[in-house]
């Protein structure tokens, strides 16, 4: 049996890498990938807790999280696609039409 703290630590490390990616990278698709990485880190801790608590709810939750992540990826990428048509760049600093 793998010690639960080690898996949770791995999940925390992956989540932090995702946060760093969102804050440091400027390519909007890479920022999106970092968000997927954070979602996966949370999924990992869901599975860990579900296993250590002898519960099935965490696994069911992951099913829904993955569906929502797929929907989010589809809609987000189509938004990026349509922004790219007008601005011709993927740099998130250029996407500032809505900025006050």
């Amino acid at each position: 049996m793998i010690p639960i703290e080690h898996i949770l630590l791995l999940s925390a490390v992956l989540f932090t890498l995702g946060v760093l990616g969102v804050m440091l990278r400027r390519n909007v698709i890479i920022i999106f990938m970092s968000i997927e990485l954070m979602l996966n880190a949370v999924n990992l801790s869901f599975v860990t807790f579900a296993r250590s608590m002898d519960s099935m709810t965490g696994v069911i939750f992951i099913f829904f999280i993955i569906v929502v992540a797929a929907a989010e990826a589809v809609v987000g990428l189509s938004i990026i696609l349509s922004i790219f048509r007008t601005r011709k760049t993927l740099n998130i600093d250029e996407f500032n039409i809505l900025k006050w």
């Binding site: 990992l44 599975v47 990428l77």
Partner: protein, 170 residues
């Protein structure tokens, strides 16, 4: 068993670092696929075979292929010249994420980790019935409403993506 877990954990952290550090966005996407595969292997070790399968099929298969398609459609020439113009921002980002990491990791201190009462699906029951059969049974009984709603959400996402991404007629 434990050593295999450490190998996969190290590989998945390496993949995450690749997303953070690699210059070419395509390489970033491929290293993220590697991370997803390693996480799938860890799910197998945690006796969550169903999650491992949909992790590889949906995440590493469908979602990342979508990312790669979009990356290849939108090959912008200035791809990675956009460095952060503001060096203090990098330091602030590092400090902030260090703070987040310390906060999360301090929650996982084993001696203080307070878990509630155990659920009704210990490992023997899961092995006997099979995890996929259990999940299917739960999805179509206890969670049937959420299951139906998520189906509508997927339909809305598909229609929304088509509407947002199509070209407007002049």
């Amino acid at each position: 068993m434990l050593i295999i877990f450490y190998i996969f954990a190290a590989l998945s952290v390496l993949g995450g670092l690749g997303v953070l550090l690699l210059r070419n966005p395509i390489h970033c996407a491929l290293s993220l696929v590697g991370t997803f595969f390693c996480l799938g292997a860890i799910y197998v070790m945690l006796n969550a075979e169903f999650v491992a399968v949909i992790q590889v099929l949906v995440y590493a298969g469908a979602i990342m292929v979508l990312f790669l398609f979009v990356l290849m459609l939108l090959s912008s020439k200035d791809s990675e010249k956009y460095a952060n113009k503001w060096p203090i921002g990098k330091i602030l980002a590092g400090l902030l994420s260090l703070g987040i990491f310390v906060q999360i990791a301090s929650l996982f201190n084993a001696s203080e980790l307070q878990l509630g009462p155990k659920g009704e699906y210990p490992l023997e029951v899961v092995e006997e019935v099979g995890s996929i059969a259990l999940i299917g049974r739960l999805l179509f009984t206890d969670y049937i409403l959420a299951f139906e709603i998520i189906a509508i959400l997927l339909l809305v996402a598909v229609i929304g993506a088509v509407v947002i991404a199509k070209r407007r007629f002049q």
